[in-house]
Subunit: 226 residues, 2 copies
């Protein structure tokens, strides 16, 4: 099983459903899971996800970057559970009391795995978010969430998250491919999965592009571990 999560972010003008179905079809065998973001789900409506991913055998992660009060996040998680989603990405920043406490409880109840963003890939992440990195990781450990998100483009952040988390918490790293991080580089710093989007999904041959990325990832990981 590969360590690649495929981010399905259709270009704004794409015929979304066709675009998604084709890529799920090409990539399902090789991907570890699929991730959809807010623009896609807002356009299709959450109820379309079950049908869109009906041919997929892999988990679906809803990367909604939730950041609301607990009640609202709980409503969203209910809708995601109805749609067959396996995991949801939320921000650590909203805090625990009346927000993540509620999200985690509702997610457990419905069998959805919560994942918390502890750092992001854009430069503005250092303005506020990254200042709380260690607090966020500690909170993620206390809440016993499934995993955290930290950017492949800033490897020192991943190393720090792994150091803080010990062997707990899966680390998901976006930014491999089009955003510049090399396949395998985040895993070498302690990540568990690398999230790849456009480098695969916008390729004329997505399956071949994913095979190449998996090959690169495995080669680099063998090297850094030898």
């Amino acid at each position: 099983m590969s360590k690649v999560v495929i981010a399905l972010d259709p270009p704004p003008k794409a015929e979304i459903e066709k675009w998604v179905r084709e890529r799920v079809d090409y990539l399902d065998e090789l991907a570890s899971s699929f991730k959809v973001g807010l623009p896609l789900v807002l356009r299709t409506g959450v109820h379309r996800l079950r049908d869109l991913f009906s041919v997929s055998s892999k988990p679906l992660i809803a990367d909604l970057k939730l950041a609301d009060i607990g009640d609202i996040m709980a409503y969203v998680v209910e809708a995601l559970a109805d749609a067959g989603v396996s995991a949801v990405i939320s921000h650590a920043f909203v805090g625990r009391r009346g927000a993540l406490d509620v999200l985690v409880r509702k997610s457990e109840e419905l069998g959805i795995k919560p994942v918390l963003v502890v750092s992001m890939s854009h430069p503005g992440s250092t303005e506020f978010i990254d200042k709380h990195l260690s607090e966020f990781v500690n909170m993620a450990l206390e809440l016993r969430v499934w995993g955290v998100v930290a950017p492949a483009t800033r490897r020192e952040v991943i190393s720090r998250v792994r150091e803080l988390a010990g062997s707990e918490l899966r680390i998901f790293s976006p930014g491999v491919g089009a955003q510049g991080a090399e396949p395998g580089s985040a895993i070498c710093c302690g990540a568990d999965y690398e999230i790849v989007g456009r480098a695969v999904t916008n390729s004329p041959n997505p399956r071949e592009a994913l095979e190449r990325i998996i090959y690169e990832q495995e080669r680099r990981v063998r090297e850094c571990r030898s």
Copy 2:
């Protein structure tokens, strides 16, 4: 024109479209604007908003609490503009570079008004968000956004935001009604609009409930200003 924004958050089991249409119909004359949140838009799909609010003469605010990288937020704003939305609520904490910079530019281009969350009503807001309150308000001023969101349930926060913002920035205050803040109390502390949800929308007679809240709001504001 009243100073009440109606938050349309349908209960999870409601027949959403009917629920929304009825309330828009009853409340349009008296509301200053309507606000929809993520659970509603995820369920209906963003493309349904134009039709759902076709009988409304008031602006529609999409309270998605965006907190993503700039490109993703820009895609969302495009979808909202297509759907006839007037304003979008985003989090301040994602930071400026590569996030809010992009959101503000795209929003201006499409005629959508950006509003930033600088504090929230749940207890967890003090864990991380509120520590940056003055930085968030200063950033909102620099970015020349349309307004900010601060909770009616914590009046000292609203007073502080007004003090920091001077006469710039509209302040929107959720938490009036079911969450406990009295109508008019946030305006007395410097807010421009009070956001009311369940106290009106779940009332057996929503229009009468809104009339009562507007009456209370005006009475309290007259008192505090006299």
